[in-house]
Symmetry: C2
Subunit: 72 residues, 2 copies
DNA sequence: ACTTTAGGTTAAATATTATTAACATAGAGT
DNA sequence: ACTCTATGTTAATAATATTTAACCTAAAGT
C-alpha cells in the first residue's frame, strides 16, 4: 500500500451519481489521463488546483464539497 | 510581465484584513517560503491543493472564497 | 472459452510547483 | 543621508504532479 496524501475526496462517489461516469470519461472531460484520475481517487497525490476546479465544475459542487483536508 | 495562470486569488487583500500580515508571516504559517507566497499572489503559478487548504484555514474562508477559476 | 470494459499498478520521462540565494526598489522612520 | 522592512524578481535546483506505455485482474456479455 502506497503512502496517501492528506487530502481526501469523493470523486469516485460523484462519478457514480453522475450517470455511471467512468474514470476514462472523467479524464477526457478534464483533459488528463485515466491514470491521473485513478491516482487522485486513490490519494496517491493531490491534483493541481486547476484540475480540482475542473472537477468541481463538472460535478457542480464547490471545492470544499469534493475535497477535504485531513489534519495530521 | 510574466504569464499568469487562470486561477485568481485575493490572498493579498486577506493578509491586510488579518492585522497587516506580511508575506513573510504568512509563509511561515504555511511552511513555505516568502517567494512562494509572492509568486502565488502574482499568479505566477497556482499553489498545490495542500497549500491552498492551509491558506484557507489561516484566513477562515472556504477555498472558493479565496480562489476563483477564470475560464479561458 | 473468448472478448470487451473498468479499474489497479508500475516505471520512466516530462511538466509544473516550490526552494534557496541573491539582488533590486520603494517607503517609513530615525 | 542612512537604515529598516516589505515586496518584486531572477536563476538554478529540488520536489511533486502528470503523462505515457505497459501489464494485470475481475466482471459482464457473447
Amino acid at each position: 500500500m502506497a503512502k496517501q496524501i492528506p487530502i481526501d475526496n469523493n470523486i469516485k462517489t460523484l462519478r457514480f451519481l453522475t450517470g455511471e461516469m467512468t474514470q476514462q470519461e472523467l479524464a477526457e472531460q478534464l483533459g488528463v489521463t485515466r491514470q491521473t484520475v485513478a491516482a487522485i481517487e486513490q490519494r496517491k497525490y493531490s491534483p493541481s488546483l486547476e484540475v480540482a476546479f475542473k472537477i468541481s465544475k463538472i460535478f457542480g459542487k464547490s471545492l470544499n464539497e469534493i475535497f477535504t483536508y485531513e489534519e495530521s
